[in-house]
């Protein structure tokens, strides 16, 4: 009963923190403009890169459009890095405002503050995703075209979102000790930004580069965000692969799993709730989030002992 009360109380507080962040975000209109511009430039750059690639590469080597290939990956990674970048300031901003002490003494933990900001930032960046990234994909006819594929896309995105919540929680909690958004935070963000550009070439051209006897992509695929990135790309852009399949009409679903499994040596069945690979990814993500929560709690206790939880 006490635990239930505690959970309900935490949900109420989390809801309040999310609502406050959304209200504040909507009032920083210039910031939204900057984010939309940044995403547009990012997407445009990769679309151009993909177009240039398409114009020069042999169709046999790359049998689908590199534009869509890049667009899906870049779009989703831009959202994740954007959410992280917005969230990583959460603790520093509350400390600067002087609200940290008040919130702590009202049972609002730094973990709740960070997750509240993460959820609000996700909503903001999803709007950017829907406005900037998805229209060109739909225009090009690249989107999950069955309900089950849409559902799979949401499941995969949510799994990666859970994992990234843990990663962001670790990165942001460090500010409880160092007070400012440190180099450590920025390095984390730059890693995600770098991956948004680098992961696609790695996944595409690493067949001759092997670690432990496996291509690098076969190792990276077990990391939930890269798994999500690759799966989403698959779920969105697979219809471009029709040209390489012979024998009349092709079931998109069948194509997805068959190709995916053969490349990455996995046993994905349908990217649905009963897919063993996705289940494993969910397990990894939730465990990671739980560990991140424990790390954040530990840092909170340390900062309460060191006095860094609030300027004094």
């Amino acid at each position: 009963m006490k635990l239930l009360r505690q959970i309900l109380q935490n949900m109420r507080i989390l809801g309040a923190v999310v609502k406050r962040n959304i209200l504040v975000d909507l009032r920083y209109k210039f910031q939204i403009f900057v984010e939309i511009t940044w995403t547009t430039v990012n997407v445009l750059a990769f679309v151009l890169l993909g177009a240039a690639w398409d114009a020069t590469a042999s169709p046999a080597g790359v049998p689908y459009s590199m534009v869509t290939f890049f667009l899906v990956a870049t779009g989703f990674f831009t959202v994740f890095s954007g959410v992280m970048e917005s969230t990583v300031e959460a603790v520093t901003e509350e400390s600067k405002l002087g609200t940290m002490g008040f919130l702590i003494t009202n049972s609002v933990s730094p973990t709740t503050i960070i997750l509240g900001r993460y959820i609000a930032a996700t909503i903001r960046w999803l709007i950017v995703l829907f406005v900037i990234v998805l229209p060109p994909l739909v225009f090009k006819g690249v989107y999950p075209n069955t309900l089950s594929l849409v559902f799979s896309s949401i499941l995969v995105f949510f799994m990666a979102w859970i994992f990234m919540a843990g990663f962001t929680l670790i990165l942001t909690s460090v500010s409880l000790i160092f007070k400012r958004t440190t180099t450590f935070n920025k390095v984390g963000i730059y890693i995600v930004r770098f991956l948004s550009g680098a992961i696609v070439p790695i996944f595409s051209f690493d067949s001759s580069f092997r670690i432990l006897g496996k291509p690098l992509s076969n190792i990276l695929i077990w990391f939930p965000p890269t798994y999500a990135l690759e799966t989403l790309r698959w779920l969105f852009s697979v219809q471009d692969e029709k040209s390489i399949v012979s024998g009349g009409t092709v079931s998109k679903d069948g194509l997805v799993y068959g190709s995916f499994n053969s490349i990455f040596h996995m046993n994905a069945t349908n990217f649905g709730l009963n897919d063993p690979t996705l289940q494993l990814m969910y397990l990894i993500s939730f465990v990671f989030l739980l560990l991140s929560g424990l790390f954040s709690y530990w840092l909170t206790q340390v900062s309460r002992r060191w006095g860094t939880i609030e300027f004094y």
Partner: protein, 312 residues
């Protein structure tokens, strides 16, 4: 039946940092108790640990040693239970500037699990309801101080009110209104307040806890006893344009103290202070004259030094 709202024994707090591994001891040894429903002011010179003590009691900082019970609950082990029964407001608390006063109050009400109505009642008394839908970025320091108190008063179920210099930034009239309101509204609640203004303390508190540098309890005295301990009410500081002989100064006022090139007068009351100030200004011998009302720190410092009679 718990009779003491607060009971601390040998409480210590040391802030450590990489530059100073031994740490800075802010609370050396704090032992005191406060009965339920009592009102206590905490005072002492700079660096005596007033605010730190309040923040430890508010469960913001973890103590390093000793033990403390708040409403019979352990300060360290039962922090979350304590937080539900206390209200802590600090002068450092600020608000999201892009949100309106109403939105800020609703957020704080939600996280506290309280109604926003008590805050509205207080704001109504302070004639601030007409700016309820204005963004707080336009607020003066006085309006922010009122808002802070409104947030603190929202949590009606709180049994202990911890106020850290909350009247800072209020003009004389507003301060009077706030004191009147607090006197009425804090009945049956335990009040701990850090404030330098002797008027605030005299009217709101029964006892004063005086801290010594290094964070040690000097003494606990009743407010009456403390107020009677100083035979002067103001301090006038005058800087002469040239060196003045004692007889020149005595022509202005017979009792004075030299401190380097500065001359200080200690009038018994406001009328005497006005007379001395007027005379000083008329003589044209002074390059600067400053008068200030004696605050609680003066009382506390003089009280603990037991040197009151030396001056008069």
């Amino acid at each position: 039946m718990v009779v003491n709202a607060i009971e601390c024994q040998h409480l210590t707090k040391t802030f450590k940092n990489p530059q100073n591994r031994d740490g800075l001891t802010v609370l050396g040894d704090i032992t005191f108790h406060v009965k339920k429903g009592s009102t206590l002011a905490i005072t002492g010179g700079n660096g005596s640990g007033k605010t730190t003590l309040l923040k430890v009691l508010a469960t913001l900082f973890l103590p390093d040693g000793g033990n403390c019970k708040i409403l019979g609950l352990d300060l360290v082990k039962q922090a979350s239970e304590i937080r539900e029964r206390i209200s802590f407001v600090s002068a450092g608390l600020d608000f999201q500037r892009k949100l309106t006063l109403r939105e800020n109050l609703e957020f704080f009400a939600k996280v506290q699990g309280s109604s926003v109505e008590p805050a509205f009642r207080f704001l109504n008394e302070m004639n601030m309801m007409h700016i309820i839908d204005q963004r707080t970025e336009t607020f003066s320091e006085g309006q922010k101080a009122i808002t802070r108190l409104a947030i603190g008063l929202m949590k009606e179920k709180s049994e202990i009110l911890l106020l850290d210099e909350v009247t800072l930034g209020l003009d004389v009239t507003r301060k009077e209104e706030v004191i009147d309101y607090l006197t009425k509204s804090i009945r049956n609640k335990t009040l701990l307040i850090v404030d330098h203004d002797s008027d605030v303390i005299e009217r709101l508190c029964e006892q004063v806890l005086i801290l010594k540098p290094g964070g040690f309890v000097d003494t606990i005295v009743s407010v009456d006893q403390l107020m009677k301990s100083l035979p002067y009410s103001h301090e006038i500081t005058a800087i002469p344009k040239r060196y003045l002989q004692d007889r020149d100064i005595k022509e202005i006022w017979p009792h004075f103290v030299r401190s380097g090139g500065i001359i200080k007068f200690y009038p018994e009351n406001k009328r005497q202070a006005e007379r001395i100030t007027n005379r000083l200004l008329k003589t044209d011998l002074m390059s600067s004259v400053q008068a200030r009302k004696i605050d609680l720190n003066d009382y506390a410092i003089r009280y603990s030094q037991s040197s009151l009679t030396e001056l008069i």
